[in-house]
């Protein structure tokens, strides 16, 4: 069984597809409730989190790292949910926020522009040019967000396992393709994949705890053995050591925790 993430441009029928897939496969479906989770867990106002995951960071925010912190909280909440398996997630940049999650089926839904304009016109009561402008603005903002935070273009099909265009293919067709892919061997849940999901959730959790005060760290976790990579410094500061001790005491599932300072942060680190 898989974890399915459905990414889409605005008004591209992605939500409809996600709901049908979840219903067909009897999976849980999540989207915006992750923001609530993150807000409760890390005591951050929902609106700030929402802004962070929708708007591209401004110039000042890039230096203050606040967007990165909010993303870290969101990611911790999201990966925490994913440890349960058999989930459909349709929200922003699931394929990037859930990077490293095993048995993850990454789907992109695109729709014909005309169709998208029709949807927006009907939903928001706009004229065709207004709807078109809104769609373009939305797409531009999402592209900017993804590029700024992850250096990726969300329209790049190589990021996904499956890209479906809703045009001549209907929502039902899309649902069929996705359900078939979800049952493929490569997306089956195994002991190893469940452990990996658990490790990723733990790494994201710890990263979220560190993001605010120690933005230049990377976290990896393997079977509960947590490594904190510190960028650029020769050794962990007393403040970081104190923080890590507190995390070790308050977070379950950590068998071992050590810091690696002055070594390159590996690409799979959170």
């Amino acid at each position: 069984m898989a974890i399915i993430t459905i990414s889409r441009g605005s008004s591209s029928m992605g939500k409809a597809v996600a709901e049908k897939v979840a219903e067909r496969l009897n999976y849980a479906i999540i989207s915006r409730e992750v923001i609530l989770d993150a807000s409760h867990q890390f005591n951050i106002p929902e609106i700030k989190l929402e802004k962070a995951i929708h708007d591209a960071p401004g110039i000042l925010e890039r230096y203050r790292h606040s967007s990165h912190s909010y993303i870290a909280y969101f990611r911790a909440a999201l990966t925490g949910r994913m440890a349960e398996d058999n989930i459909v997630y349709h929200g922003l940049a699931g394929h990037l926020l859930l990077k490293g999650m095993p048995n993850l089926l990454k789907v992109r839904i695109n729709a014909d522009m005309e169709r998208r304009i029709q949807i927006v016109m009907a939903r928001d009561g706009l004229s065709a040019p207004e709807a078109h402008a809104r769609i373009l603005a939305d797409d531009k903002e999402r592209r900017k967000w993804t590029k700024n935070l992850y250096g990726e273009d969300p329209w790049d099909s190589s990021l996904y396992d499956l890209t479906i265009r809703i045009d001549r293919l209907s929502v039902d067709n899309a649902t069929d393709f996705i359900c078939q892919a979800a049952e493929a061997e490569g997306f089956r849940s195994t002991d190893k994949s469940r452990q990996k999901a658990k490790d990723l959730a733990l790494a994201c959790r710890i990263k979220a705890e560190l993001a605010d005060e120690f933005p230049n760290t990377g976290v990896t976790c393997e079977y509960g053995n947590v490594l904190i990579y510190i960028k650029g410094k020769e050794q962990a500061s007393g403040k970081l050591t104190k923080k890590l001790n507190a995390i070790r005491e308050s977070t379950s599932g950590i068998h071992h925790l050590e810091t690696h300072a002055g070594t390159a942060i590996p690409p799979d680190a959170v």
Partner: protein
């Protein structure tokens, strides 16, 4: 005072760039020096001949010769032979042992490169620490500091002092003799040792002595790592272990449970010590792991293995007579430095299992294969003693166990001593130029096969050579363009009219601060022309000003930036704050004693 010219601005910019690059370490220090060596003639600040004169300077030749002579002494095992009688004379008390070894290393360091002497003594000090049950942390720092201080006893003891006469030449000042600094150096060494003897309990970390090992019957010369539990557990896998599971390999156990497999049965039925990381754990075999008990129990439960009450199958093979755990320190210029553990591949090349790495107050146990080894790292290895001997022959690692004397040339000890004495006699008795005398000694070592010419070449630290050679033309440019004079007059304008003693003290403090952030050689080259000009302008003795720089740039105790301190930091388990505490006191004493002795000896 000359007006500020464009050339002066260029030189000062070059100095600024050099200092900046030394601090940020974007490129290695010797590369910075070569960059300067090439840039100066391109900017027409020096002629091409002057740009490369450093490579043929007396200082560089002297240093090459000193390094070769030191390597020759090392190769004969002479230095190690000194340790036993010294310790016998010293007795058992920590303070007497500290004094005895500190004085010995200071004397040796006065003729050898500091880092060479420090590396030579480290294994011996580790053995003494274990034998006498004195915490290693209480011995290493005083000895390391004494090694640095010993470099001030003769003019060949440290790179700044070797460089000094070359830097005096453009000013036509009388060069210093080999032993002109001896009284000052001896006073500095004595005061440094005294700081630790009388105030050691306030400034040294009060650690615990190393244990003699779990069984308590370890041979005295085999030191186990201190500070970490070193338990071995034997397990067996059931007959259906490999059924319905993905293959499990040795590396998986380390990554998942932080357990190192030190012995296991390989197909068809070979009992193997230090198995390769990709060896599969099969059904119905026995294996021995090293690690914490809680992780062993976790693994046994998760993987379905049976934990035995004690070692059975591997009891003999893993007995203290056959195998053990050793901490090795990565030596300066080690071929292992800069390589990842997975590239070194101890298991395949040497059949030794790396257990952990200690660096800068951190112990690395998880994912150590990706770790890039640095000089001063302490690597814990497990294996048979036979395999450790093989590793020792590779050189580049400092062992706590005695090295195999077969790789040494004790029969050449007298020749090594002869050439050293000859070199000293030539320069002292016959007024032969220091570089010529030392190179004669080095040549003699090669001709009498104390070491081969290739070994001589390999022993030379080219980083130091190019650092020196590259910075000498910068000193020349600073002087020739008048930048040194301009800066000197500007500084004097700021500090006003001061007595010579105060001026020398200011110079000593400046040199100390500079050498903390840039190399001591860099500080010497940049400051000597400057302080000479300052002294001339202030009607003080310029030779003394230069001498203060040459001595004070060795005052590098506050941070573990000096090579000796960096090397001892890992084995001594020191933190930076330990150096700050002890180093601050010793630095202040250093400056006071230097100025006082210069005033006393030279009547300033």
């Amino acid at each position: 005072m000359e007006p500020l010219t464009f050339e002066m601005i260029l030189v000062m910019s070059m100095i600024g760039v050099a200092v900046f690059l030394f601090i940020v370490e974007w490129v290695r220090v010797d590369v910075v020096a070569i960059l300067i060596m090439v840039t100066l003639p391109l900017l027409h600040l020096v002629s091409p001949k002057e740009a490369f004169m450093g490579l043929g300077s007396n200082a560089v030749v002297s240093i090459i010769a000193v390094i070769i002579i030191g390597a020759g002494l090392d190769r004969t095992g002479m230095v190690n032979k000194l340790v036993a009688p010294v310790v016998r004379i010293a007795g058992d008390t920590p303070s007497r042992i500290t004094i005895a070894i500190s004085l010995t290393i200071a004397m040796i360091s006065s003729f050898m490169q500091n880092i060479g002497a420090a590396a030579l003594f480290l294994p011996a000090v580790q053995r003494i620490s274990k034998m006498k049950k004195i915490p290693l942390g209480q011995l290493l720092m005083p000895i390391g500091f004494s090694c640095i201080l010993g470099g001030t006893i003769t003019l060949v003891g440290s790179s700044p002092l070797i460089l000094l006469n070359d830097l005096l030449t453009p000013f036509k000042l009388q060069p210093f003799g080999l032993f002109d600094v001896t009284l000052i150096g001896l006073a500095l060494t004595a005061s440094g040792i005294a700081c630790f003897i009388f105030l050691g309990r306030f400034i040294l970390p009060q650690g615990e002595s190393t244990d003699s090992g779990e069984t308590g019957n370890e041979p005295a010369d085999r030191i186990l790592a201190d500070g970490e539990k070193n338990d071995f557990y034997e397990l067996s896998t059931p007959a259906d272990f490999t059924h319905y599971r993905d293959p499990l390999v040795v590396e998986d156990l380390r990554r998942r449970y932080l357990l190192n497999v030190v012995a296991m049965t390989e197909s068809p039925d070979f009992k193997v010590l230090s198995p390769m990381p990709d060896t599969e754990i099969r059904s119905g075999i026995d294996l021995v792991v090293c690690g914490e008990k809680k992780n062993v129990e976790r693994m046994a439960a998760a993987e379905g293995m049976r934990l035995k009450a004690a070692l059975e199958t591997y009891k003999d093979r893993l007995s203290a007579q056959n195998s053990g755990t050793v901490e090795v320190v990565v030596a300066p210029r080690s071929p292992f430095a800069g390589k990842r553990l997975m590239d070194i591949n101890f298991q395949d090349r040497f059949r030794l299992t790396p257990l952990s790495v200690y660096r800068h107050e951190e112990t690395y146990r998880a994912k150590i294969d990706d770790l890039r080894i640095q000089v001063g790292d302490v690597i814990r290895l497990h294996g048979t003693w036979k395999r450790f001997k093989a590793l020792q022959e590779e050189r580049g690692l400092l062992f706590s166990i005695p090295s195999d004397v077969e790789s040494m040339r004790p029969e050449k000890a007298l020749w090594a001593l002869f050439w050293l004495v000859l070199a000293l006699t030539m320069t002292m008795g016959f007024d032969v130029q220091l570089s010529v005398a030392l190179m004669t000694g080095a040549l003699g070592m090669v001709l009498t096969r104390v070491l081969t010419i290739d070994e001589a070449y390999q022993s030379v630290d080219w980083r130091t050579i190019f650092l020196l050679a590259g910075l000498i033309p910068l000193g020349v440019a600073t002087e020739q363009t008048g930048a040194a004079a301009w800066i000197a007059h500007t500084v004097l304008g700021i500090i006003g009219t001061v007595s010579p003693i105060v001026l020398l003290t200011v110079i000593a403090i400046l040199s100390t601060l500079f050498s903390l952030v840039i190399s001591n050689v860099g500080a010497t080259v940049l400051l000597v022309p400057l302080v000479i000009n300052m002294a001339i302008a202030a009607h003080a003795d310029p030779r003394m000003a230069a001498l203060v720089v040459g001595l004070a740039t060795s005052n590098s105790f506050v941070l573990p930036t000096h090579q000796v301190n960096a090397l001892y930091m890992g084995p001594g388990r020191y933190r930076t704050v330990d150096f700050l505490k002890a180093g601050s006191l010793v630095s202040i004493v250093f400056i006071i004693v230097t100025i006082a002795m210069i005033a006393l000896v030279y009547g300033v």
